[in-house]
């Protein structure tokens, strides 16, 4: 069965490996560019650089704007963000859907092998190389982002990747650490499950992309901000925030959004949450400030500090791994009850 699983899916496995090889090659090219950028010595000696130097840099670096290293880094970042989903579509979707699509499950399921073994063998024969590949990608990503940051070039530009340069902010968080491997496994399991459910490769591709996108969005906006204790920085118009320094330990924090908190040491006037009360006050227009004061509320901003990076990474990885395991179990249940 190992032979069949590999033979049946090897073309897509080779394509996936090829895509990853190209991506790694590109990152190496950009790293080389960062290391040899003409501005590098200048940046390192001065630390900062004026906006007028951007044009200067382009002159020195030469070539069309589109080849600028920071633009290339942005493109790589986007590719890395999409990579788990791409791998899930390429290797997860055909796992069951391709067989149901052309009815070849009928020949496989009438040989001397159980459906359970048929599916579980496919999983590990494809899943294991997938985990290895995505681990390699993460390691190369770390190397590339280290060089990008060290070069100092990236911070000049308002590019996606370097914007804020926070490793807890969604872009960088999602392509480093352990989560990319967990995402890849999840996308693989998701593709397989949706493929089984929809029975057509084409529809399953659309379904997998949509569901993966929605899940990622919900995770980044609704779940991840709450996976570790947030830091609240109250708006302060009189003195510079003292906590902002402490907060930036380990790098720039991830700005989540504005909100309310009860003032420290205050006895909460109501059972309602600070957010609810704050929202209520906002509706009062003219009475806003008195409402805020009466309820001992502080308005301010929520952050995830960079020091929470690993807590967030572990927790999110665990969530995705549990989801993957559930999807695998679903796939198994589905295949066992499937009537060809």
């Amino acid at each position: 069965m190992t032979w069949l699983a590999f033979r049946r899916h090897r073309t897509n496995l080779i394509i996936a490996t090829g895509i990853i090889a190209v991506l790694i090659g590109w990152m190496a090219f950009v790293v080389h560019g960062f290391d040899t950028a003409p501005l590098r010595p200048y940046l390192q000696s001065t630390g900062t650089i004026g906006h007028n130097t951007i044009g200067h840099y382009r002159d020195i670096y030469g070539g069309p704007t589109i080849f600028r290293l920071d633009y290339q880094s942005d493109a790589i970042t986007l590719l890395l963000l999409a990579l788990p989903c791409l791998l899930g579509v390429l290797l997860g979707v055909p796992l069951v859907a391709a067989e149901l699509d052309d009815h070849s499950n009928r020949i496989a399921w009438t040989q001397r092998i159980s459906r359970t073994r048929w599916l579980s063998t496919k999983w590990w024969v494809i899943g294991l190389p997938l985990v290895i590949l995505s681990t390699v990608v993460v390691l190369v990503t770390q190397w590339w982002s280290h060089h990008a940051t060290a070069s100092g070039i990236g911070s000049l530009f308002g590019s996606i990747y370097f914007n804020g340069s926070s490793r807890v902010a969604p872009e960088m968080f999602s392509i480093t650490g352990t989560v990319p491997v967990a995402y890849t496994l999840f996308a693989f399991a998701l593709g397989a499950a949706i493929g089984a459910l929809l029975r057509r490769v084409s529809w399953a591709i659309v379904g997998t992309v949509v569901v993966y996108g929605v899940v990622s969005l919900i995770m980044a906006t609704a779940m991840r901000p709450n996976l570790a204790p947030k830091t609240f920085v109250a708006n302060s118009y009189s003195s510079p925030s003292s906590s902002s320094l402490a907060m930036s330990a380990g790098g720039a924090p991830w700005y989540i959004g504005t909100g309310y908190q009860f003032a420290p040491g205050s006895r909460h006037p109501t059972d309602a949450s600070a957010a609810t009360v704050g929202l209520h006050c906002e509706k009062l227009n003219a009475g806003y400030y008195s409402c805020i004061t009466r309820n001992q509320l502080q308005s301010g901003s929520f952050y995830q500090p960079a020091s929470n990076y690993w807590t967030l990474q572990w927790k999110e990885s665990a969530i995705y791994l549990i989801a993957s395991a559930s999807l695998f179990l679903f796939g198994l249940w589905f295949v066992r009850r499937w009537r060809a």
Partner: protein
């Protein structure tokens, strides 16, 4: 005499309509049993249920006395299943399809599988999808034969073949079966294909078994009554079907003929006439009481 395949009140419902209903039949071990019926009669449904690919809505299927569990492997060791759609892995080479069979079966007769390919001149290094439909059918059959099954379940095995290849295939099949003591259960919608090879026949129509029995038994058990045109069906005879021209009426009857008068002739129908007679009237034989008691394994000289 044991049964290679037995079904009891077997039924399979697809959403609102039944693909197969109240089907009780027996395929005798060592026999070559044909399954005839029009397209959509439930032949494929029955064979998929027997192969454990589908799960019964009602009733049960047994292979050599053991209930088929779609998630188990017990029945898989004993059957060779040929699907109507000849599903294969299109980008595999022919010898990779045979490797597939070897890898997925603990008992595998490589000689038989390769022999089958050699007999039909199928190039081993050709991609499966580049073969003709007939050649693809041969590859699928080679995988079946390599399994060394005790029961071959063949769904429309010769449908894609030209007449010459059909005859060659059926003869080779017959040879292999007698050599190895295999039981064959094969479906077709063309009676003339089945008649020369089959011992027994099951007629399936509109999701139900209409009748079954040995071919000799069926031939001996039916008569054609031909006489002057009658507008009403005569009583006292078990009529399967009737047809009439302006001057003449013909009745296919079951059992011994009672004479309807001097101007009536009693003729022996051929198998095709019997089958078509049943298929023309899907309601006939529905009760199944007849068919199961006089059916396969009971009727006719075995």
């Amino acid at each position: 005499m044991t049964a290679a395949l037995e079904t009891f009140d077997l039924g399979r419902r697809y959403r609102s309509n039944w693909g197969l209903r109240d089907c009780s039949l027996t395929v005798r071990e060592g026999s070559i049993t044909g399954l005839v019926g029009p397209n959509g009669a439930g032949k494929s449904t029955l064979l998929r249920l027997a192969a454990g690919l589908s799960r019964p809505t009602t009733g049960s299927v047994r292979i050599f006395g053991e209930e088929v569990d779609p998630n188990g492997t017990a029945h898989l060791a004993r059957i060779g299943y040929f699907d109507q759609m000849r599903p294969l892995y299109g980008n595999f080479k022919v010898d990779e399809m045979l490797t597939f069979g070897r890898r997925l079966n603990s008992t595998w007769d490589d000689e038989a599988a390769h022999g089958w390919m050699a007999e039909f001149d199928i190039p081993l290094d050709r991609k499966v999808r580049k073969l003709s439909l007939g050649q693809q059918a041969q590859v699928a059959l080679a995988v079946c034969m390599g399994k060394r099954p005790d029961l071959l379940l063949l769904d429309e095995p010769v449908a894609a073949l030209d007449p010459l290849a059909r005859r060659q295939l059926l003869q080779t099949l017959l040879g292999s079966v007698t050599d190895r003591g295999m039981t064959v259960f094969l479906s077709s919608h063309i009676v003339s294909e089945l008649e020369p090879v089959c011992d027994e026949l099951i007629i399936l129509s509109a999701a139900r078994v209409q009748t079954s029995g040995s071919i000799e038994g069926l031939l001996a058990g039916h008569r054609l009554l031909v006489g002057p045109r009658l507008d009403d069906e005569p009583t006292g005879v078990d009529i399967v079907s009737s047809s009439a021209t302006t001057r003449q009426s013909t009745f296919l009857i079951r059992g011994a003929p009672t004479s309807l008068g001097a101007d009536w002739q009693v003729l022996e129908p051929d198998l095709e006439e019997i089958v078509l007679g049943y298929l023309a009237n899907p309601g006939v034989g529905e009760g199944m009481a007849d068919a199961t008691t006089t059916g396969a394994g009971m009727a006719g000289p075995a």
